[in-house]
């Protein structure tokens, strides 16, 4: 277990499937990625988290996560829409977003990158592969990768 370096270094996992959510969280945890993990269960929730909910000014935007793991097939607002909003807003423009999805469709891959995804990772069926992938992701994005400066966020 690695202690949290910084309270603000959260990971936003946008995942509608509880199974996948559990597996992802387990994988993160098992691989020593000890950052706070916020889970949004659909696209709308993710947007609310990032930008605050319209009409409910009391719930202002949360501090930005260091990484967003974004599924594509989501209820309400789908992943690509969420990604577009993230890139459209100046505040979240440089936010690292990794697409983590079951889809291997070319058009999904192309569109994701076109909208500014930082990485595209397909969830393998094989559990060990999945575990290894998530471990590498956490390691890379949270530790090796240098995030954009705070003022940009």
């Amino acid at each position: 277990m690695v202690s949290t370096i910084d309270g603000t270094k959260t990971i936003l996992v946008v995942e509608d499937n509880p199974d996948d959510e559990a597996l992802t969280l387990r994988a993160l945890k098992a691989n020593g990625v000890s950052n706070d993990v916020v889970v949004a269960r659909d696209g709308a929730e993710a947007l609310d988290y990032l930008f605050g909910r319209d009409g409910e000014p009391s719930r202002g935007p949360s501090p930005l996560p260091q990484l967003v793991l974004l599924d594509l097939r989501l209820p309400k607002v789908d992943g690509l829409q969420v990604l577009r909003r993230i890139r459209e807003e100046a505040r979240t423009h440089c936010l690292p977003v990794v697409i983590l999805t079951s889809s291997d469709e070319e058009r999904d891959i192309i569109e994701s990158y076109a909208l500014g995804a930082n990485s595209y990772v397909r969830k393998p069926v094989e559990f060990n592969e999945f575990m290894d992938g998530v471990r590498q992701l956490g390691l890379y994005w949270m530790i090796i990768n240098r995030p954009p400066p705070a003022q940009v966020q």
Partner: protein, 868 residues
């Protein structure tokens, strides 16, 4: 055409015929010369012979013609030189007054007809031979031009005319036509020969000109001119002959009359003297005074008596009257000279008066005497002599002749006794006529000739008028022939133009018919309209489709064929089209509609095109009924959208498969693993094994889903052809495979520089499948080997992947490429059973073919091509 044909035919026959006749004639005459047969040489003893050289010249001419007809040009030229040489030599001899020694070169003349130079041909013959030679040389040797034939025609025409003229002269007995000089006459058969040669040369020139230039020769007027001129000349000569005969008759008559007058004059004198003598005989004792009175009476009647002498029995002049000027005669002998003495004696002895020839007379000049004997009782008693001077007693006759316009001379034994004028003018000399004067003892001739004035007046103007008129008519006829030829030629060109025109009309009719047939044959309705939109032509299809009769539409505005709602706009479009008339579809992108007569409508396509006709611009519209087409289009659209919907669904399905089917699998595998990891101690071995099986199955299902997705993606995705280095790709995949199982030893044999045009991604997938299979199935082979190479098959690139692995039973070869078809158990060789199906799909999408050969335990070979 017919004229051309018979003239052609005549010319064709005439040339050899005339040439042969000439040849025969020449040979006969030559034979005559050698055989000494005057009949052959002369025809008639009174006629001149054809000279040997003449016959030779005719032989040469005939031979030249015949050789020319036979196409022997060189020999013909040699033969043609013969008449030219003979003619020229004769002319040189005649006019150069030299002898070239050719006159009697070949034979000695034996005929009796007198000629100036025995054996020499006449001048006219010589000239004719020069002409004949020149004609033949031109005909045979000169270039075949119009000018040549014109010259030949002129020369041969002249030659023919010369010969015919001479022949005519013989027939009409006009020597002038065949004899240019007295002793140089053209023989009758020579004239015939020249005529024949001329005709033959003319006919030949005519024929050749016809052959050469395809038309009757331009000089058709010449034979007409020659022929008509010949007739004119003949008429002229006839008239001239008649005229001359008439003049001769007049002169003859006058001569006879003058002769009679002369006789009368002498007889009157004689009679007068007889009376004087008679009166004395009746009165013998007449005194001198009485006699002188009697003589005076006589002299009063005939004052032209120079003197009367009364001669006595002894021959002495006793008395003389008139006395004045004659005194010296008295008492002298009357016989001054022998002539007088002789004629006095003759008169005394015969008792018949005598007339002396011309003698000098005492009163001067010459004259003659008439002695009349006197008898008394049967006895000679002396003579009465009258002395006459010719001019004196012929004064009346002279006056009479003069009044008639004639001169005359009285000639005795070639000596002029009297002559009314001096020398006879040359012009009139030949017209002179002689008659004998009927006098006893005297042999007087009166030679009478007209005075030049009289001769002129005797000459009739008829011959020369006839000649001039005839020549004029000849010229006119020649002109007519010439213009007739032109008319004929023009007529021919008019006929030809007519024929051309007729064929053009036929062609045009055929073209029009073809045009109409084409209009009727096309499956479209064709409408032609002018720029104002008036229909000028429709085909039957139009009538059939639109339900009109033709007469309904012709002249009607084209808008009647449109629904009313479109008519106004159509007029505007029509005007626009006329501004820029090009062939194009009408109303592109619009659904055009035609309106039938009954008001119903149907969809059409219309193509427009400009027609540039003589009447100006017209527009042709080809209308196609597209009812069925439109229906089919609608149906197609419908099925297309249905297909699109299905595709859409398929797409969603694939997407769902890709995403949604895998997620539960992942959960199964993941939680199974967690179960194993976290709850191992609570599961017995059996339970753990079951969990393993569940995970294995779920993993396998994941692989299957992925493989299926790949297969469907290949079906759907676009192909981008680009050159791909197949060898390089093979190396990469081989390395990939080796790195996956580094412990394996596989021998790779990859051909270098294999290149192919294909979709890079798909080709990679294909090779991954094939090489992956080869790798997989050689896993249990001790000396694993994989060959990748290229082979040529009918010029197409064909590739193969060969391994020496497990191989397969060819009995199942057809199952290899089916989806989910496997020839091995999964635990033997893992696999989805979709790889080869995917490979085949890739190959097929590249237009290629894939097939396999194999043997269980001996490996497999996969062949594929990428472009058909």
């Amino acid at each position: 055409m017919s004229i051309r044909r018979w003239s052609h035919w005549i010319a064709y026959v005439l040339a050899p015929l005339c040439a042969s006749l000439t040849l025969a004639l020449a040979l006969v005459v030559l034979g005559g010369w050698f055989l000494h047969s005057p009949r052959l040489v002369q025809v008639h003893p009174s006629l001149v012979p054809m000279q040997f050289n003449t016959a030779l010249g005719l032989l040469g001419s005939a031979a030249a013609l015949l050789l020319h007809l036979l196409g022997r040009r060189r020999s013909a030229l040699v033969a043609a030189a013969v008449p030219l040489a003979l003619g020229a030599s004769a002319l040189i001899e005649t006019y150069g007054h030299v002898s070239l020694g050719i006159d009697q070169l070949f034979v000695q003349p034996f005929t009796t007809v007198h000629t100036e130079f025995p054996g020499r041909m006449s001048v006219n013959s010589a000239v004719a031979f020069c002409g004949a030679g020149a004609t033949l040389l031109l005909l045979i040797g000169a270039p075949r031009r119009q000018a040549t034939y014109l010259a030949v025609a002129l020369l041969s025409g002249a030659l023919t005319a010369l010969g015919l003229n001479a022949l005519f002269g013989y027939a009409a007995q006009l020597q002038i036509t065949y004899a240019w000089t007295t002793h140089s006459q053209m023989a009758v058969h020579t004239a015939t020969g020249f005529t024949l040669v001329g005709v033959a040369a003319f006919a030949r020139a005519w024929l050749e000109s016809l052959d050469e230039f395809g038309d009757s020769p331009a000089w058709i007027g010449i034979p007409v001119l020659v022929g008509a001129s010949m007739v004119s000349i003949a008429a002229w000569q006839t008239l001239l002959g008649l005229d001359h005969a008439q003049i001769r008759r007049v002169v003859q008559t006058e001569a006879v009359a003058i002769g009679h007058s002369v006789t009368d004059e002498v007889h009157n004198r004689l009679t007068g003297l007889r009376r004087v003598a008679r009166r004395w005989e009746l009165n013998p004792g007449m005194s001198r005074r009485e006699w002188e009175r009697d003589a005076g009476n006589y002299l009063a009647f005939q004052p032209d008596v120079t003197a009367l002498e009364f001669i006595d029995r002894d021959g002495d002049v006793r008395w003389v009257a008139p006395i004045a000027g004659n005194e010296a005669l008295i008492n002298r002998t009357a016989a001054h000279d022998a002539t007088r003495a002789a004629f006095m004696n003759l008169a005394r002895q015969t008792h018949v008066p005598t007339i002396t020839p011309g003698v000098p007379i005492e009163q001067g000049g010459r004259g003659f005497l008439i002695y009349v004997p006197r008898q008394v009782k049967g006895r000679y008693a002396g003579l009465i002599a009258g002395i006459f001077r010719y001019p004196a007693i012929l004064a009346n006759v002279t006056a009479e002749a003069y009044s008639q316009g004639f001169d005359f001379a009285v000639i005795e034994e070639g000596v002029d006794l009297f002559r009314t004028s001096g020398d006879v003018p040359t012009a009139t000399r030949s017209w002179g006529q002689e008659v004998r004067v009927d006098l006893p003892m005297r042999d007087w001739y009166v030679h009478v000739w007209p005075t030049p004035q009289e001769l002129t007046s005797l000459h009739s103007n008829a011959p020369i008028t006839a000649l001039l008129l005839g020549l004029l008519i000849s010229l006119l006829l020649a002109g007519m022939a010439q213009s007739g030829r032109m008319v004929r030629i023009q007529g021919r060109s008019v006929r030809e133009a007519n024929i051309r025109l007729a064929s053009q009309v036929r062609e045009r009719e055929a073209a029009e018919e073809r045009f109409r047939s084409a209009l009727e044959a096309v499956p479209n309705a064709i409408v032609i309209a002018d720029t104002r939109g008036r229909i000028s032509l429709v085909n039957s299809q139009t009538l059939h489709w639109l339900g009109y009769r033709r007469e309904d539409l012709i002249g009607a505005p084209i808008e009647v064929l449109l629904p009313e709602r479109h008519r106004f706009l159509h007029q505007a479009h029509r005007d626009t089209y006329v501004q820029q008339p090009v062939t194009r579809p009408m109303g592109e992108g619009l659904s055009l509609v035609a309106r039938r007569k009954d008001g119903s409508e149907f969809p059409v396509d219309i193509s427009l095109g400009p027609l540039h006709t003589r009447d100006g611009l017209e527009v042709i519209a080809a209308i196609t009924d597209v009812t069925l087409h439109r229906q089919a289009q609608a149906e197609l659209k419908q099925s297309n959208s249905a297909l699109n919907a299905v595709n859409q669904e398929l797409e969603s399905f694939s997407y769902a498969v890709s995403h949604d089917l895998r997620q539960p699998l992942r959960a199964m595998v993941g939680f199974g693993q967690i179960l194993i990891e976290d709850y191992r101690d609570r599961l017995d071995t059996q339970g753990q094994d079951y969990l393993q099986r569940i995970q294995f199955a779920a993993n396998r299902m994941g692989n299957l889903i992925d493989a299926l997705l790949r297969l469907s993606r290949i079906t759907r995705s676009q192909i981008a052809h680009a050159p791909v280095n197949l060898s390089q790709l093979t190396y990469e995949i081989a390395a990939q495979l080796a790195s996956g199982e580094p412990e394996r030893q596989v021998e790779w044999h990859v051909e270098d520089a294999m290149s192919v045009k294909a979709d890079d991604g798909m080709l990679r997938a294909l090779l991954e499948n094939l090489l992956g299979n080869a790798w997989k199935f050689t896993a249990g082979t001790p000396h694993a080997r994989i060959d990748v190479g290229q082979e040529r098959n009918n010029g197409h690139a064909q590739f193969y992947v060969r391994d020496n692995g497990a191989g397969f039973d060819m009995a199942y070869a057809d199952k290899l490429f089916g989806a989910f078809q496997r020839l091995h158990r999964t635990d033997e060789f893992p696999g989805t059973g979709i790889g080869l199906a995917t490979s085949q799909r890739i190959v097929h999408r590249h237009g290629g073919r894939i097939w396999a050969e194999g043997q269980v335990g001996a490996g497999a070979t996969f062949h594929f091509t990428l472009q058909a």
